[in-house]
Symmetry: C2
């Protein structure tokens, strides 16, 4: 979408576990992720954590910032991240006219969030993990980062647990069960999906349109 560094834009880098944004900040710029993964999350006082959004290459971070207000949740790098800094003075929606891609991005984020409400509210462990892996694969493919049936998958099982609302132990057992069924091959941060159709079925995503 953005192929070169234009006026006011600059490249920034973040290392694993480094914050792209902290809580209650007034963001002055959005980030266009070029490489690496990041996530937004909420931490409860007793240590429970829920990841509420994932940012992959090609994503804006965070689209909702243009609506104004403070950042309500921190965003942290899951891998090393390279991004483009896009200055914006919220509420900056006026200046976004014609940036179809950006509004689509906001719309997509809301849509994904809705889909995750359904997943967390209705689905079994297997369906949740399957849903996550399908979503990741299809987003990576859309970003041109899938190679045949494979793509990078840098999430740890703890991070998968914090996304799916499960415990790390149960995520482990669920992944093994999926491996045993031949639904996925997952090792050394690399995911292969022999039959996407089968995995989508296991995710109760039949009938839903693919993200492609």
């Amino acid at each position: 979408m953005l192929s070169q560094v234009a006026q006011g834009e600059s490249q920034v880098h973040f290392r694993v576990h480094q914050f792209l944004a902290r809580e209650n900040e007034a963001p002055d710029a959005m980030l266009y992720i070029q490489e690496g993964w990041a996530c937004r999350y909420r931490l409860l006082s007793d240590g429970r954590r829920q990841i509420t959004a994932l940012y992959l290459p090609g994503d804006y971070c965070d689209p909702q910032w243009v609506l104004g207000g403070l950042t309500s949740q921190p965003i942290v790098a899951i891998t090393n991240v390279r991004a483009l800094r896009l200055p914006c003075k919220p509420p900056a929606y006026a200046s976004m006219d014609g940036q179809q891609g950006f509004w689509l991005s906001l719309s997509d984020m809301i849509e994904r969030q809705s889909a995750w409400l359904v997943t967390l509210g209705c689905m079994t462990a297997m369906e949740r993990v399957a849903h996550l892996l399908v979503e990741l694969f299809e987003r990576m493919r859309k970003a041109g980062l899938a190679y045949g049936q494979q793509c990078a998958m840098p999430l740890t099982q703890i991070e998968i647990a914090d996304m799916t609302g499960l415990t790390p132990v149960h995520v482990n057992r669920t992944l093994q069960s999926m491996r045993a069924k031949g639904l996925i091959e997952l090792q050394s941060k690399w995911l292969r999906i022999p039959e996407l159709h089968a995995l989508r079925e296991a995710a109760a995503m039949t009938g839903q349109l693919s993200a492609i």
Copy 2:
């Protein structure tokens, strides 16, 4: 916010269980809810249902429609609904300049959705139900529809179950447990919260800012 019927606007009414919107429609107008409750939901092929948004008086239905695209989820009336029809031709963001209230509304909706991801991903049954009741009460109060410690609460236990990701049976037991602890009084569609502070604590909402 809107006190009279202006150009192009018109009042519309919906009865309980009537659709405000169906799936895969191209919405040509937003609705500004004046009276009554409605909800957006997703239904799975095997009957599981997740309510993904609640629309109360003073809410726009649905803010994300201005971002364009088709409606991805149906919206149905929970009670009789009176609303104002606000024509808009998406993408209509350009014409929304200066409508601060509207953008705030979109921002609030995204914020609430994030909060519900946390609730569904991390919280116990008691915390989920408490969270829902606190949120409803504070939204009703904001709309000027709370009277002291009380407000209307037209949701059935089945609808509470579909919001919280629990079974109706367990919602029933949870509500009784909350009544036994003196956290709520709930009967004939009317909610009273003796000590909001205590209920917020039961909802693990301590430290979070009130919606007021």
